[in-house]
Structures are given as structure tokens and as C-alpha cells.
Symmetry: C2
DNA sequence: TTGTGTGCAAACACTTTGCAATTAG
DNA sequence: CTAATTGCAAAGTGTTTGCACACAA
């Protein structure tokens, strides 16, 4: 099922903007999670009339229909992730790049949390921060 | 060492506002983590001239000298925690209350992350979200 | 006295919203 | 045709900043 079919099946119209935004998101590296601004700048050359508002509105729809997850990773801007499986992330405190962090057993953590809390837990956010290899290299001039 | 001594020892002046803000923060329940707004409203009756800006500026100083930790827990506003030991939190998605979440072994998670990543990891944020017992009760009218 | 701190209002960064014009179906 | 979508600009949020005045030391 491609993006056009998914949109239609959920009652949304298929527009060039939505296709382009979806492609731009997919075009990013698998474990890389762009912000609205980043997508906008990626799209601008090919779609000069594209607006930031449309990126935001489209992402809201994509989230609603389960195509993306909106990540809040502590740099005050949303990052978008088209891998909607639960996993944790790491953000570079220098360049704000956000990547996947593998190897953390979220299910185990969730089980412990469920057992230890009186809340009805609905979600968990595990984000690391640090210096990415590229920035670490730069800094050691 | 009380708050006045700590401030002085770090080269900051001791003002009624700083004392009041510190007391208000301490006055909150141990595992409750207010926002700047909440502190401001708590303080307003006793300190009518108190400004939000002063709360923010003071919290910045408190963080700098290790008196509070600033939590970003996914509701787009900072919550302040005077327990500066690393621990995880849970936020109620209905009332935005933030409380401590005990029983999660952060050290173990950190060790796994350190081993599995090429980043120089400097921090981790583990936040759960769910419905607190009070809100759950309300909702089931 | 003198430099730090306060309080106000304006500036900020990111996101959302109102609305007229456009377009998909 | 007509309801949904776009793009702009304006509004909105939480936070920060510039600056005149107040005040701790």
C-alpha cells in the first residue's frame, strides 16, 4: 500500500505536497530524524511554493494515520521519525542530529515501570544525549 | 549550608526573591516538579511584585550552582526538580503533573548505552507518560 | 557607592491558526 | 461543483533579553 492509497483510505486527499513531504522524510537516512525546518529546506528547491505550515500540517496527519512518530528529544523542536516501532534515540548536543539508539530493551523497562507505578502508563521516552563521532572529531582540532 | 550561604559562596547576591523562590520549590511535595508558572502563582500572593522573568532567571542560577535540575518531560514547559540525583519521571497526560518514577535502574541502562553507541554519552532522559490515579478516577465519572 | 538583581515589555523560536485562493475528486 | 488543502501572515506558547530603576554588599 503506497502513500497515495493510505491517504485516500483514511479520507485524506492526495496532493503533490503530501507526496513530496513523504518522499523527503523517506529520503533521509534510515536512522536520521529531521525537523520540520530540515524537511522544508530539503523540499524548497523542487517545490518553491512549499510552506512550513504545510509541513507541520502534513506531519500532524501523518502522525494521526500512523506514518510517523513525533519525537521530542530536548532541543525544543520536533523531529520526525518514520520508524514507528518503539525505540530510543540519541541527540548530539553540538549539532542536534538525532539518531536511533539500538540495544535498549524498552519492553523490559516498560514492564518494570508498569509494576512499580500507580499510573496507567501509556508511553515512555528514552533519549540519550552526547557528542556524535563527527562533532567529537571536529572539536579535537 | 543554607541557601543564603550557597548563593554568597558562588558570588551571587542574596535577595528576598531568591529566598522565596527557593522556599517555594522546597515547599512543593517531594516528588512533585513545578513549572515556572506554578512557582510564580504560588509566590504571587506573598510577593506581589514577583515577576515570571525573575523565576526563570533564578532557576537558571539555581541550575548553574547545582541546586535544581531542569526537566524537559514532553509538555513543552520546563519543570524544576530540586532532587539533582539522576532519576526518571512520569507525567500525567491529563493534568501535566510530573512525579518521580522509582525503581528504574538508570545506571544499568547507561552502561548498556555506553557500550552500544559511538557517541560520548553525557546524559539520558527517561520519562514515562500515563494517567495519574486522580485523573483516572475523575474520568470514570 | 557600585555593580548585581528586579520587573516590565519587547523580542524570540517554534508551532498553530484564520482565511482567501486553489485544487482534488 | 464543493469540500479539503494550501500558503501566507498573524496569533500563540513558553522562554529570554534589554534596559531603567532598585537594592545588597
Amino acid at each position: 500500500m503506497d502513500i497515495a492509497q493510505i491517504l485516500r483510505s483514511q479520507g485524506f486527499k492526495v496532493t503533490p505536497q503530501r507526496i513530496a513531504i513523504y518522499d523527503a522524510l523517506r529520503g533521509h537516512h534510515h536512522h536520521d530524524h529531521p525537523t520540520a525546518e530540515m524537511l522544508y529546506h530539503t523540499l524548497r528547491p523542487e517545490h518553491p511554493s512549499m510552506s512550513l505550515a504545510t509541513v507541520y500540517k502534513t506531519m500532524e496527519i501523518f502522525e494521526k494515520i500512523g506514518l510517523v512518530k513525533i519525537l521530542e528529544v530536548g532541543d525544543e523542536r520536533a523531529h520526525y521519525d518514520w520508524d514507528t516501532e518503539a525505540h530510543s534515540h540519541i541527540r548530539c548536543v553540538r549539532c542536534n542530529k538525532v539518531e536511533d539508539m539500538m540495544g535498549i530493551d524498552l519492553q523490559a523497562i516498560r514492564t518494570i515501570a508498569d509494576q512499580g507505578s500507580e499510573y496507567q502508563i501509556t508511553g515512555q521516552h528514552i533519549t540519550f544525549e552526547g557528542v556524535c563521532p563527527e562533532c567529537a572529531k571536529k572539536e579535537s582540532h
